[in-house]
């Protein structure tokens, strides 16, 4: 997260000293998106924030990239995940793209070998926080221009 003075949380990050949040925006028409935008997909104004970090989702699709850019783990398994938003939500699907977690990180106590979990389309997954997804400054993007922590996904047992 940058040092910019702000009271906002970033799209996958922490407020000032708070627990990490997986931030999505809620708009006046009830739609939710990750990441947040200035207005919703139908032009409705943003009215609130939804934390996706405690929600489970299903894998829409996945890939393992073996030719990764500077500062990115290799291989790098990525998935698009669609969150379960509950019966009260009737907006468009709420999805996120994220890395698949490695065995042994964030609460894993066995198989601590750093290998990424296997996933398939339709698998249930949950977010798991990582304080650095990619090495800031190794790639072309200015390190201070965005945050580098966020949420990976791991299978729900």
């Amino acid at each position: 997260m940058s040092d910019h003075e702000t009271t906002d949380t970033d799209a996958d990050g922490r407020g000032d000293g708070a627990e990490p949040t997986f931030e999505a925006a809620e708009y006046a028409d009830g739609t939710v998106t990750h990441p947040p935008h200035t207005v919703g997909p139908n032009g409705a104004e943003r009215v609130g924030t939804v934390d996706l970090s405690e929600r489970e989702g299903r894998v829409v699709t996945w890939t393992t990239s073996t030719a990764t850019p500077p500062g990115v783990r290799e291989p790098n398994t990525l998935a698009i995940v669609e969150f379960e938003m509950g019966d009260g939500y009737d907006g468009p699907p709420v999805r996120a793209l994220g890395q698949i977690a490695e065995r042994g990180e964030a609460g894993e106590t066995e198989d601590d070998d750093g290998e990424q979990f296997d996933v398939e389309i339709g698998d249930r997954v949950e977010p798991v926080y990582a304080d650095e997804l990619r090495e800031p400054g190794a790639g072309i993007r200015e390190p201070a221009s965005q945050d580098w922590d966020g949420f990976r996904f791991r299978p729900v047992e």
Binding site: W62, T63, T64, P69, L78, I80, A96, I121
Partner: protein, 386 residues
Amino acid sequence: MERVAIVGASMTRFGQRDAWVRELLAEAGAAALDDAGVDGDDLDHLYVSNMASGEFEGQTGVPNALAHDLAAQPAYTARIDQTSSSGGAGVYAAWQSIASGASDLTMLVGGEKMTHRTTSEATDVIASLTHPVEYKHGVTLPSFAGLTARLYLDEYDAPRESLGKVAVKNHENGVDNPHAQFRKEVDLDTVLGSPIVADPLRLYDFCPITDGSAALVFCPESVAEEYAPDGSYAVISGIGGATDTHVVHERADPTTMGGVVDSSDIAYEMAGIGPDDVDVAELHDMFTILEFLQSEDLGFFEKGEGWKAVEEGVTDRDGDLPINTSGGLKSKGHPLGASGVAQVYEIVKQVTGDAGPRQVEADTGLACNVGGFGNCVTTTILEGSQ
């Protein structure tokens, strides 16, 4: 609104070149001026399509540099950056300049110099177009292709081999293109046995990193025969540009490119035709899966049926709808800012009967140039003058 003609066209050899971006642009630009029989100082407007010359080689201000190199002053100049669809967006800008009456003679030159960078570095420059929540996960354009290909194969019960056949077809076409980076055929076993890059896609599902440039000269149709007395010019009968979401996972259907649908709807309406009237098409096959998606989203085939057209040979050079007679980005190469211009170059050659061994029977052709992973799209429809 004045109809717009293309009276000059050129492209350099695509591939690994010693020349830098300024030299590549000048090479194509000078050849297009020569093809149209005009000089640089005849131009009212000069556009350069280029995604990232500053990032790739530290050269900015390329339109002014090109104007000087071609003695085109005092032509108005502008750089058009729309990532991989910079070329298509440049065609749109050049068309606007003539159709609006702002310019009587416009040249567009698209070019990029990339091969001096490692694959990792070049991939990162291109991936810098992504949203921060995508970029920090290390997403690349090839990984978007892998994600989409897996979903497409799963949803439409398409065999993995059908993607490989796109590569085989386009390499076969590229053999007859003297400007192509790869002028060699590949067989299906080679494609399917090549190293995995973004599972389920392999090395031969991807276009190469390329240096190159292409150029077009535009004027009002009413004066086109002054530049092409033999009538060997093409007319832009329809053109449309559109965008889709910046964040790829927010699309309702990840296997549909809304920008392709919307831009082609505009182009078809302007041209007064439908997809069945198109005789030949150049699609943005940066990855094999993109040829399926575009051929469906342009209305050539039903959703989920594009792979069958490839399997059945419909899109072969001698098929009912030849796609990527140039070899496509897959075989010809993909110098980002040049690609959309080179697509239109190929269609100009086809509809004017000047495509040599690649020639197909074509009165109407279409070029679809895609930026990002379908983030921004230009679709152009051309007709021969005769």
